[in-house]
């Protein structure tokens, strides 16, 4: 009845994606929530940009031209991490984690399924909002072309690294660490210069900003929107940092999982 148990199985990853797809499909509030906040944010930044453009202040218009693109890319970063962490937290809230941990599902497969779910959850909310941005403000994010794929890839790597770290903390420390899954990413909002260039920061803070992978992505976005120049050097820098962050996030997750086994946290999930 059962097949031999391979050490890696795309089928098991598919099972976990299917489990979360069933959940999303069964719950319209969950689906609505994926679209609601991005839509609200898009309108706020869209109208701000429109208002500044109508005021006709040339310098301000140039500065705000990137707001909508910055909002969208920040949303990829934030929602990407939230999609990862929320999918993980759903298992904690459902008290289903022990069922998964005693199944043949390997931790690496679990992580890969959470990464897949972060992409799916983001796209469910993101696609309608980008279409609405074209409709209301004439802003076509997809017009950024191939560069957009590079931006997305880099932002997802950061989102997954932070998601793995947050999920590991919850595994090890229980639901007391849940708040970090919602808030940890916000430390990157001012430091990675989402809405302003790195030069805006005080000189002593700029090296910190450049150590964060999203900073290079947002600088690259501004170069593309304002100067119509794709900056491969920035993308290479972001990718190099992301590789380090991703490995660090994965090490943290597996180390915290090991700690959870040592502390007995996996048999008291939800506490």
């Amino acid at each position: 009845m059962t097949t031999p148990c391979p050490s890696f199985s795309p089928r098991r990853i598919g099972a976990m994606v299917l489990r979360h797809w069933y959940l999303l499909r069964s719950s319209w509030p969950r689906l609505f929530e994926l679209m609601y906040w991005p839509m609200v944010q898009m309108f706020m930044w869209g109208f701000l940009q429109l208002g500044v453009a109508r005021a006709g202040d040339g310098a301000m218009v140039a500065a705000t031209a990137t707001f909508l693109a910055a909002f969208f890319l920040w949303d990829v970063l934030f929602r990407g991490q939230l999609g990862f962490s929320m999918s993980f937290l759903e298992e904690m809230w459902a008290r289903n984690l022990p069922n998964l941990m005693i199944s043949p599902l390997r931790p690496v497969e679990f992580v890969l399924s959470l990464m897949a779910m972060s992409v799916i959850r983001l796209m469910v909310g993101f696609l309608p909002v980008t279409v609405a941005a074209i409709w209301f403000f004439g802003f076509n994010l997809w017009g950024l072309g191939l560069a957009l794929a590079v931006f997305f890839f880099n932002l997802f790597l950061t989102a997954w690294a932070v998601g793995m770290f947050c999920s590991g903390l919850v595994l090890r420390n229980g639901m007391g660490a849940e708040g970090l899954a919602w808030s940890l990413m916000f430390i990157l909002l001012p430091l990675s210069c989402v809405y302003y260039p790195v030069t805006t920061l005080p000189a002593w803070l700029q090296p910190v900003a450049w150590a964060l992978p999203p900073t290079a992505v947002f600088e690259g976005m501004r170069a593309l929107v304002l100067e119509h120049a794709f900056r491969p050097d920035l993308m290479a820098w972001a990718f190099g940092l992301n590789a380090l962050w991703f490995v660090a996030g994965a090490i943290a997750f597996f180390w915290l999982l090991r700690g959870a086994r040592a502390a007995g946290s996996l048999i008291s999930v939800g506490e």
Binding site: R12, Y22, A94, L100, I267
Partner: protein, 257 residues
């Protein structure tokens, strides 16, 4: 012993778990043969849940080892996890998914080849057919227990670990579940490990009882042997003697008289 296995289904060797200064499981050793039903008994804090956690690879031992079908569960759990399964009222299935969706997900996780047929068979065996397409969270306690048992049987496990499988069930449903477990063991030569506070259930189902107190094994034997050894009428009285430390087992020659 199952013909597939030359080793015991479960083998603990000096198994110890410490949380800081507190010792939850204190160097216990035992072996459980394939095809048996064994009860793991003890009061709250006796170390049963921690022992089961280590058996399932959820808790890492501080010392010693526990092997399932020969695989050290701290070092190589995936050698055996696909042959095991677990059910507990303290672990849930996702509430918003239907029974069928839950079983399909776990069928895929356990590598079941013909999932639809397997679900149909389980639904028939466990009387789930009428609510297969209902959300798991909308079922009664008895229905949830049957669904949890269906999940635990999805891979036809060689080792089934049950933590209070009939807790909070009415006597009729509890009896029905016990009957199903007996049939499953007989039909599959499966090993069942049962942690329960229901002594009637343990007496009915178990070939052997391991009694724990403060992390140690304080007695071990067939239910009828233990009853005789303690000079009691039933296992509940034996349990109370052990839990309250109020009577030592009679010497072997006395018990034999």
């Amino acid at each position: 012993m199952n013909s597939r296995d030359e080793v015991p289904a479960i083998e603990a060797d000096g198994l110890t778990k410490r949380y800081g200064d507190s010792v939850a499981v204190d160097g216990i050793s035992f072996a459980i043969e394939s095809g048996s039903i064994t009860g793991l008994l003890g009061g709250n804090g006796a170390g049963k849940t921690t022992t089961i956690g280590m058996m399932m690879g959820l808790v890492a031992p501080s010392a010693g080892a526990i092997r399932v079908f020969g695989a050290d569960m701290a070092l190589e759990p995936y050698r055996s996890l696909h042959r095991m399964n677990f059910e507990s009222p303290y672990v849930d299935l996702p509430h918003r998914l239907t029974v069928r969706e839950n079983l399909k997900v776990f069928g895929l996780l356990y590598g079941i080849e013909d999932i639809a047929t397997r679900i149909a068979r389980l639904a028939q065996d466990l009387d789930l057919t009428e609510f297969l397409d209902r959300a798991a969270g909308k079922l009664s306690a008895g229905q949830k227990t049957r669904v949890a048992l269906a999940k635990a049987l999805i891979n036809e496990p060689d080792l089934l670990v049950l933590d209070e499988p009939t807790a909070s069930l009415d006597p009729d449903t509890a009896d029905w579940i016990r009957g199903h477990l007996e049939r499953y063991r007989a039909g599959h030569n499966a090993t069942i490990l049962l942690a329960s506070h229901n002594m009637f259930e343990v007496e009915r189902l178990c070939d052997r009882v391991i009694m724990m107190k403060r992390g140690q094994i304080v007695d071990d034997g067939a239910p009828e042997e233990l009853i005789e050894r303690y000079g009691r009428q039933n296992l509940e009285e034996v349990f109370l003697d052990v839990a309250r430390g109020r009577r030592e087992p009679k010497p072997a020659e006395d018990a034999a008289e």
